[in-house]
Symmetry: C2
Subunit: 240 residues, 2 copies
DNA sequence: CGATTTGTTGACCGACGTCAACTACCGTGG
DNA sequence: CCACGGTAGTTGACGTCGGTCAACAAATCG
């Protein structure tokens, strides 16, 4: 499933100081002393294969996770078994925040591809955020960013047509690729059409149609999960 | 605009120890010493009239706010001037969290009725969360709860029909009323039909129609903003 | 009291969902 | 290596849910 190592894979490293996610991760912007403490608390769990769960909705809350490589989808399931993907997560992202309130996970997280993860127990997290001001600040930032992302998504879902939704989605992925040092013009989607459709609140067929539509308009080129953005400006103007 | 003081208004009190929001507020679950510190940091800003802004999208981030009485809507405006309400906020809710990352507000907050507020500067917030473990924990909880709320909303927007959306909305309001010690069966909506519509991502006329529909089905009684839930179970089964 | 805002209801229409057929790809085993 | 079945994605035909436009009613305000 790792379709293009050059683009998608980050080489896992052993400690936070040498991790190439430093700039994005909660572990960024910390003093050497703080980083050392974090390193001691972080556990490198076994990598997940595609389709494996990081945690299930309803699981007792024990730890937060940071993605080191790969990608993950977070989704919730309602009483009728209907699923809604609430986010796609990439290296550097902090997972499990939704479980803090109720002490059990309110979403499930499943690997979209082979993914490596860092685990940080809730106890250690609390100790660290008490003892390390920079870590505390970084966590709040991470939390805030999560809110912003989902607000953008709500805006898209509530007010935009399908073409706009898809443009917004592609731009969001593009942006995240860029932040992580990859091409923002050409990348491979790690999620299926139906994942995208579910995330955007539309039918999978509609996503298909809009992909080909955007291609016909010369804005992007698509071949299955490979995407190339030919005209970023057009895409942005469609996104509105 | 205060349509029914018995239901909507909370009497502002002077210090957190005697505030009746203790159970809900970030100020809850704290030691006496911690509460004292918080009290010193909290500023009781002038109450807002209906329609007044607490902050505007784009404003520099300086403070967080806690609602003491009344209610507030939070919304974002995109480049085209299209608005999307991302949440309704009630006494005890913490506002401004979305501004932590970028250091400016990414949403606007406007009072839906005469509302009293507590202000807590970002500096003081950081000091408090370093010095008061319980406050720190409460803030994270508050943050997490905010995420859960918006996840529920995304689920509704993405996967549900209009009748379901409205049922879910009413149940959410009902729940929040209950948490705050009011009737969960009978309450007054502080927001307009078009606010509800915008929040749910549908047309205002559609909200109107669904209200009358739910009334015809004998599930609720509606008279403008006054709502009475006659059959909570039916409402829940509609919400799915 | 008229003016304005807020909410309701009806008629019509279009964007998107559903159903179905088809194609391309992927992994497995012969 | 090919045969095969299963999954993912595309495309078309058709139906419908909810949006839009418009008229009206009710409440609020000056």
């Amino acid at each position: 499933m790792v379709q293009n190592p050059k683009i998608v894979t980050l080489h896992p490293t052993l400690d936070c100081n040498h991790c190439r996610l430093h700039a994005i991760c909660v572990a960024g912007n910390m003093t050497e002393e703080e980083t050392k403490r974090l390193d001691e608390a972080i556990v490198h769990v076994n990598p997940l294969a595609q389709g494996e769960y990081l945690f299930h909705q309803g699981d007792r809350f024990e730890s937060l996770y940071i993605i080191r490589s790969g990608s993950v989808k977070s989704f919730m399931t309602d009483a009728d078994g209907i699923e809604q993907i609430v986010g796609f997560n990439f290296p550097g992202d902090l997972l499990g925040l939704d479980a803090i309130d109720e002490k059990y996970h309110t979403t499930s997280a499943v690997a979209l591809q082979h993914s490596a993860l860092c685990k940080l127990s809730w106890d250690d997290f609390n100790k660290l955020s008490q003892q390390c001001p920079h870590f505390h600040a970084q966590c709040l930032t991470s939390f805030s960013r999560e809110l912003i992302h989902i607000h953008d998504m709500v805006m898209a879902m509530g007010q935009k047509g399908v073409e706009q939704k898809l443009a917004i989605f592609l731009l969001a992925i593009s942006q995240r690729m860029k932040e992580r040092g990859f091409s923002d013009k050409e990348f491979i989607l790690s999620m299926s059409r139906s994942d995208i459709a579910n995330f955007l609140g539309v039918a999978a067929e509609t996503v298909s149609r809009e992909f080909t539509q955007l291609q016909k308009e010369g804005v992007i080129q698509v071949d299955r999960r490979q995407v190339k953005i030919d005209c970023m400006d057009s895409l942005k103007s469609i996104a509105g």
